[in-house]
Subunit: 228 residues, 2 copies
DNA sequence: ACAAAAATTTAGGTCTAGCTAATAATGAGT
DNA sequence: ACTCATTATTAGCTAGACCTAAATTTTTGT
């Protein structure tokens, strides 16, 4: 009876690799170096793991060419992303975590909770569509809302924009933005985008002006707002 | 500068061994066989792990004589037990898990949550003193309420007793007891304790009579109730 | 077209946590 | 005191997931 092999749960390392590839490349392909940097794991270790993931049918991998997710790999990555984002929402909404603290805890818990737990948690939270950073939460069936938001630096000068999400990659960046109220939902007017150094100047609803250097500006994503 | 070695977190295997020894032997000593049975790990593997735990200063271990927890070992075991029981309470009270389902989920989550998470969860739950099975929850400082309850089989015939806890070791046992309402808080009258086969017969508040064989009777713990 | 730089892979480890099979110690019963 | 069943330990292996150093491939800049 082929196809009946009992598929025991994937390790948390494997899950993190799949998530990393998904984050870096989405449907495209991620290089050894990129994955290595993302996970803080030596390049040699990444090479080795990509080989294993390929054996398992989770990625397509070509030596020296990088790896891309197969259907199964992507499915698993999105399952984890769903868990991660629901857990973040819970930590923030029910346990009083600060906006900045949630990520690390979710990074561990995502591997320990069951599907049962995840769906009951989603229920408790009222099936939110976005996590606290503004990232969309994949549906239980693996569907993910297409993301039409753009980096702040690409917004048109003079336009009114609403922050749709903030990158959760760097804690210091998150801290800085959080302290100044530059969080999802906030309405901004773009005053200047200086191509010379990438500094973007915005004005918030309170009339406060913020000059954001490239690394900060790249962490803020917005949607154009109907002129008001 | 001695004593400054950064102590990285203990693995979940290590935690489960410490908990097992604590459960089996409390302050006394647990044999290789007992630990092996408790964790479903081969005896040879247990021997090996007990050696490592000894190296780490978590147990005292004498070849062929079994192992007992050191102060640090006991501390770590209780930290996990606290987490486990708080998580069980949460799953039952907030996520709608059934009384029987909670154990396995808690067994994994206990290793993934931080101290931060644990204490915030305790707060959310209102610092409960007991978990859903009636087991006392160790305090954050490592204190544990002494347990004065006795197995149902040792209660005096004719006496009124209240169920204080139910062993969470076996799911079928838990199912059986749960279905019949034999849960913590329930008031019972002991009708017969037959030493011949260990069967204990009790009558519940609704007048229902239950004859419990030894394995079931050993899973039910009670406290004598002031005669009423 | 080619040399140097950058990225990647291979080779050869380590550590954890398990396993089986073989051997040895312990302790109960005669 | 001895024998044998039980319990435990040792020896030798495996797999996962990492590492460093050395070799190789790819890419880039001239
Ligand atoms: Mn993770
Ligand atoms: Mn997030
Ligand atoms: Mn556990
Ligand atoms: Mn319990």
């Amino acid at each position: 009876m082929p196809g009946t092999e009992t598929t025991r749960p994937l390790s948390s390392s494997i899950g993190d690799y799949l998530k990393a590839i998904w984050t870096i490349a989405g449907t495209g392909s991620a290089s050894t170096k990129e994955v290595s940097g993302h996970l803080s794991v030596a390049p040699a270790s990444v090479t080795n793991m990509l080989g294993r993931l390929q054996e398992m049918g989770l990625v397509r991998y070509e030596r020296y060419r990088g790896a891309s997710l197969t259907g199964r790999g992507r499915e698993e990555a999105l399952r984890l992303v769903r868990r991660h984002r629901l857990i973040e929402s819970f930590l923030l909404g029910h346990l009083g975590y600060s906006w900045q603290e949630v990520h690390d805890e979710a990074e561990r818990l995502e591997h320990a909770v069951s599907d049962e737990f995840t769906e009951r948690l989603a229920e408790l939270l009222g099936h939110p569509a976005h996590d606290p950073h503004g990232d969309p939460i994949p549906a239980a069936d693996g569907t993910l809302e297409p993301d039409d938001s753009l980096p702040l630096g690409e917004a048109g000068v003079g336009g009114r924009v609403r922050i749709s999400k903030v990158s959760d990659e760097s804690t210091p960046v998150l801290d800085y933005l959080g302290e100044r109220g530059l969080v999802p939902g906030r309405l901004l007017t773009v005053r200047e985008v200086r191509s010379l150094d990438g500094v973007v100047t915005v004005e918030d609803e309170g009339g406060e002006t913020h000059a954001l250097g490239e690394p900060l500006a790249r962490a803020v994503f917005v949607r154009e707002e109907a002129a008001g």
